[in-house]
Amino acid sequence: MKKQVRFVLRHVILLLLAVFWLVPIVWLVATSFSGYKGINTAHFFPETWSFDNYLALFLRPDSVVQYKAWFMNTLVIAIFTCIISTIFVLMVAYTMSCLRFKGRKGLMSFGIILNMFPGVLSMIAVYFILKSLGLTNSHVGMIIVYSAASGLGYLIAKGFMDTISISLREAAWLEGASEAKIFWKIILPLSKPIIVYTVISSFLVPWGDFVFAKLILNSGISADWTVAIGLYNMLNKSLINKYFSIFCAGGVVVSIPISILFVIMQKFYVEGITGGSVKG
């Protein structure tokens, strides 16, 4: 009897916690189907339901809402960022993990300290450097901002490669394989979980960042924006009462692909981290 009470109690607590965690998400989805465009402050669920906000997103672009354009911009930036970042991260991680050369430890510590330097701090200088290169208000500039320094984020991938047995590489050396060949043929195929993790996490960066996007895509032409600044802009004091439910719809739409990728990434992330920690 006591056991049953505990069993029920345990699940009631979990249910309460889950409700607490999901309330904002439910509100997001519910409001996105609201017939009223502003913030409904009187009721949790909308009084009238409609699908109109989603139609407004995709079928009726105006000076504020250019959702299709934003989505495509972000997608293009994300794909290029993802390719460049992944290549950089893997190159640095392999070098630091598997190759031995003079100054390796110095470079590693230097990289870790630099990586601690938050991007927000150096924003102004980044902006002017891009401006002098003529890359503000361009998506190439955004890709450079997101991916150029990505090599600094090598630590997790390195930790994973550290766990790959050295005997595999020794065997390859004995057979006369070059370092480049070992990298391609042995280390990369074995690093699949961490590659997936790197690919997805770098793909997600442009979808979540609005600080740099706001700074660099500052022309005011909304068709050039990314999803993050576009949505942020809708919550402007002058716009929020007309666009809040459309903002929610936009939030839901962008969340769907991102949640899927996120769930996949988390699995590999935990695998990569714990894979390292079991042996280390």
Partner: protein, 475 residues
């Protein structure tokens, strides 16, 4: 430290010996960098070095020299515009842009330093070639040199591009930031219409001054204390919360653990800027939560016990300093616990089961097991990432900015004078100083402070993991 000095000493000593003992071709390399290679029939190397030298000289004359000449003053010619009423056009004089002079000078100095390093190593390489030749050893052809780039020198091939990216987007901005901290670059001195110049340590002094006109000292103290409080609170609440939640879900008595885990993951899979902006409106002064609280009488109850000011008709979730701080920490728990839960789940699964079993047989209760076995194991595995989280929280821009921007107004005049707010972290304060008030000089000084704090914490953890040579130990 002594080792480092020694290696620097050796670096120059090698250069000296190369010069002293080198033959005519090595000495000629001082002037014509390709000479040594040409003499050993490495024609392609010779051409490359010659071109490099030529490009560098051109860069010096047309780029470095004009900028560096003005580096001391950061420009003297004020921007002037003359409107010609006859042609209806305005002509602009050949003015100095202080920022561009600063930026270009730093780039030029950087290139010069790099060139000097290349120059010195060039002499050494040429001397080595001479020694190989004298010893009758094989001298690499160009093709063999290229092949070496994929073998014993593979690290150079791999690191070149990432390093260029890091220098461009990370090192260079940091150098510019440090330089700006020593200038008077602010709203009154904005290029191109105005010049700015060097002011020495003035900005650093005003960061620690507290007078009737300058309140940066007061604000810096307040913001720094809250930043550290926040970082400690945010790190530990989410860490402990994540472990407890993971334990709770993984417990054998819990049905459908996967289902519960997924529910919590859904909450964090939505991009942070969406959820945080949403939550901000959720808890707004006239928002839905306040309506509900008023309806169920919570607002009146809180008024009675004095938690809400008697002149308010709402709960100031994000507009009163104390309420806002508590709410920010709570919302951060909401954001952070599921992440930590995921990581903790992975680690907990690896805890040696036999230890827990034998403790149970010895009569330990679950609380004792948690404190004596689970926690020490968790701390051992996730300890380093705990410090990383702490540093990330010091710079947790998103949570604070998205929750309070446009919502929170400070009533503290001293803080307002230096454009700070009670709930600001150093980074958000810095962001506002640059983006809204164009006070680049003070923002740079604060940026340097943040960097020093973060670097100190990072170094404490990572010198141990890197220097300990742990990486080879477990292979």
């Amino acid at each position: 430290m002594k080792n480092k000095l020694n290696s620097i000493g050796n670096y120059f000593k090698d250069f000296g010996t190369a010069l002293a003992k080198g033959d005519i071709w090595v000495k000629l390399s001082l002037v014509w960098m390709g000479a040594g290679y040409a003499a050993r029939k490495q024609i392609i190397n010779a051409v490359i070095m010659t071109l490099l030298e030529a490009v560098f000289v051109i860069m010096c004359v047309f780029y470095a020299a004009p900028n560096l000449a003005k580096f001391g003053t950061l420009g003297t010619v004020q921007f002037e515009q003359v409107f010609d009423p006859l042609t209806l056009t305005s002509t602009v004089n050949d003015y100095d842009n202080s920022f561009l002079i600063l930026l270009n000078s730093i780039i030029a100095l950087f290139l010069i330093v790099v060139f000097i390093l290349v120059y010195i190593s060039n002499i050494k390489t040429v001397y080595n070639l001479q020694k190989r030749k004298e010893a009758g050893k094989h001298i690499n052809t160009f093709r063999e040199d290229v092949r070496a780039m994929f073998n014993e020198r593979f690290h150079i091939t791999l690191l070149t591009l990432p390093c260029i990216g890091i220098i461009l987007m990370n090192v260079l901005p940091i150098l510019v930031l440090i330089a700006i901290a020593f200038t008077n670059y602010d709203q009154q001195h904005m290029p191109p219409s105005a010049l700015f110049t060097w002011v020495g340590w003035t900005n650093f002094k005003s960061l620690f001054t507290n007078s009737t006109t300058i309140t940066f000292g007061y604000s810096f103290g307040k913001v720094l204390i809250w930043t550290l409080e926040w970082a400690v609170l945010a790190t530990f609440t989410t860490y402990i919360g994540g472990i407890l939640l993971a334990k709770f879900i993984n417990n054998k008595a819990t049905k459908w653990p996967k289902f519960w885990r997924t529910l919590f993951i859904i909450a964090i899979a939505v991009p942070q800027f969406v959820t945080l902006l949403l939550v901000r409106n959720f808890f707004a002064d006239s928002g839905i939560v306040n309506t509900i609280c008023a309806n169920i009488g919570l607002t009146d109850f809180l008024k009675k016990i004095g938690l809400v000011g008697s002149n308010l008709t709402y709960i100031p979730f994000l507009t009163n300093p104390t309420w806002a701080k508590v709410m920010i920490v709570l919302i951060n728990i909401w954001v952070g616990v599921p992440y930590q839960m995921l990581i903790a789940t992975g680690v907990l699964m690896n805890i040696p089961e036999d230890q827990i079993e034998s403790a149970r047989i010895d009569g330990a209760n679950s609380f004792q097991i948690f404190v004596k076995i689970t926690m020490p194991y968790m701390l051992f595995v996730t300890g380093p990432s705990l410090i990383t989280d702490f540093v990330k929280n010091i710079n947790n821009f998103n949570v604070i900015y998205l929750l309070t921007q446009d919502v929170y107004v400070t009533s503290d005049q001293m803080l307002a004078n230096s454009n700070a707010k009670e709930i600001d972290l150093l980074v958000t304060w810095l962001f506002r100083l640059t983006n809204e008030y164009y006070n680049y000089k003070m923002a740079s000084v604060i940026g340097i402070c943040v960097f020093i704090i973060c670097a100190a914490f990072t170094l404490i953890t990572f010198t141990r993991t890197i220097k300990g040579d742990k990486e080879d130990q477990f292979r």
